[in-house]
Symmetry: C2
Subunit: 430 residues, 2 copies
Amino acid sequence: MTILEAVRAGRVPDDVAAAARSEGVEPEALAAGIARGDTIVCRNRDRANAVPLAIGKGLRTKVNANIGTSKDQMDPELELEKLRVALQVGADTVMDLSTGGPLAEIRRTILAQCPVPVGTVPLYQAAAEVVADGIRGVYDLTPEDVFRVIEEQAREGVDFFTVHCGITRDGVRALENHPRLLGVVSRGGAITVSWMKRHGAENPLFEQYDRLLEVCREHEVVLSLGDGFRPGAQADATDRGQIHELMVLGELTQRAWAAGVQVMIEGPGHVPLDQIQANMQLQKRLCHGAPFYVLGPLVTDVAPGYDHITSAIGGAIAAMSGADILCYVTPSEHLCLPDVDDVREGVIAARIAGHAADLAKGVPGARDWDDAMSRARADLDWEKQIELAMDPARARHRREQSHPANGEVCTMCGDLCAYKTYRDSREGEK
Amino acid sequence: MTILEAVRAGRVPDDVAAAARSEGVEPEALAAGIARGDTIVCRNRDRANAVPLAIGKGLRTKVNANIGTSKDQMDPELELEKLRVALQVGADTVMDLSTGGPLAEIRRTILAQCPVPVGTVPLYQAAAEVVADGIRGVYDLTPEDVFRVIEEQAREGVDFFTVHCGITRDGVRALENHPRLLGVVSRGGAITVSWMKRHGAENPLFEQYDRLLEVCREHEVVLSLGDGFRPGAQADATDRGQIHELMVLGELTQRAWAAGVQVMIEGPGHVPLDQIQANMQLQKRLCHGAPFYVLGPLVTDVAPGYDHITSAIGGAIAAMSGADILCYVTPSEHLCLPDVDDVREGVIAARIAGHAADLAKGVPGARDWDDAMSRARADLDWEKQIELAMDPARARHRREQSHPANGEVCTMCGDLCAYKTYRDSREGEK
């Protein structure tokens, strides 16, 4: 019995109870959310070392960090260092997107060392292995290549799969009849379209969706239904191709639920600020309330080097409007594979966005953290401020770098510190 | 005749025509906006070297960078380096908030070297000079001390003044009867309240507002009516003290306009995401459409070290909802006086927020930049992408740090680049 089948039968599986405890919610309430489909609990049945994680309506907004090698940078040790840093600064899930080096070995090591859910895009491994010889192209993939990887990864404990099942021949037509500046910017999407065009065939992951569901069912893998047609430019947001795919994903959500498989939906991408709320509402409506996992959204295209900021802006609005988990974007986006510092910056930026949204949504307990910080500020209690900071090491470093003559204040205002001036003005009042 | 009086009389002063040219709008349209009060053109009549700048409705969102010494860090050369960097990365205005060292000399040097409008908080110089002896406190200030500085700074070319005229005895009562976690967090606000409590007197800048207007009128100084009671904590946002002051500022706006003086209004502060739009609407309504200059808003209190990001999130929503100029917040906020790198990060983060809002508001021309970048991406034209980046040096550095084997792509995806895969899949189609 899968988690979804169990909660429908009125049971509360251990993984659900454990996830409820770490969210501070009632297990029965969480189980009810899973049964409705607006919440998932993520943990592969065959993973020993991962803590089950709940993602969905009313819960704290989660943050995912992508790590993984590429053909140009295939140092597995560096990726493990990124994993450690991502976990240290609070990533809730990690995706291994490796496409260079010994892929299966890298994934196994990450699974062994990672206490939070791990996701993958199985198509990446399949494609990387095919093109590794420098002769074949991604269109030389066979559906069997892809399913072999899917089965292997499910068996070895991957907790969620991003799969671009929503791309169809009709969808490609819809996309290309509403021209874009930047075409297809999803790697999985581009590989899928390339293969379909070369073979004049339907997307195998759409055609053989039931086979995919069977694998997920067996190993309790959550499906993260990918947005292969997500916009990669402000100009391309919310267009026919994107919405066509989203409508297909709505149907696939129903089919997954019918098979007892949990689902979340991936979303855009590059989206102007004023379209984000509509995108969130559309996804919730078309996909029956399934949790929404957004990549960004990036609210401008012109700031490579700072896309952790462009996406924190979009992510905050998205999460306030219904997104449940934010995929981090690092300062390296659009430029290169992130390094360790990028991972730290990316996770923190996404956590800021998620927490700001949690304050706005009134997620229980979220404001306590801010209130404690504000009290520490009123008390000019610097140790407490540092301890409460989202990144205490960074806060301490900056404070120690720039030492005030009077340790009660900071070097910005010195003795003209507003907190101090106001506090002193009230002495004797109380 | 002041700019405001001239446009009311149907004239278009040279400074208005020049500002219109750099905004790409019709001079008559800009003049009409100034006459309505929803737009300002900022340039002290006695400044030779500053380019007049328009701020207001329908125009590109502007960014202000604060620089200046403090008692703990009084190196004027360092502040001039911050000025150069702020201008290089696109600050539209600069405020000299110096409170340490030879204040008048620092200000004169900044005015001489800065081609964009320069603002100050005259109270800072007055207070810093009084407390410099280590014996007197801010409550030893006299109204004449403050007006002497105001007159000197106006005469020497300061383009806009932040003055906390909206704090009144009634306001202090309103503030303190609706208790806050963090009291008064504005330096000017705290000094003013401290002085009022000690002397049991009304705020001199409120009582002698007409005298202030006379100085501004004579030198064409824009009033930036300060928000001394801005919230400094999520818990304190949109409370009685804040709104009381805003209502007073609405009255003071009318009085300034009657005296021929241009006005903008300063706004919060620390504000939860879901309250930002309401704050913008309230300001526009209560202050008769006067331009809104916001400090942040910071959408969470818990991320010292990353407050350029917490404020970029808030600033984007604010600007989309009506704010006209964003005061940058640097990564050092709440920790120390910013360094040169902080200035760069702060300006860029605020520019990202402003530009994202300009896209959402449909400011004419804003989207062209993003579209050009998206075309460069579709063409895999890396030189063009770098040239178009908001910070080309940063983008180039990251690209060059991480070199791909195939120069057509980047090290994130290598040969699995989505742009390339999709482009190749369409070859021969056209």
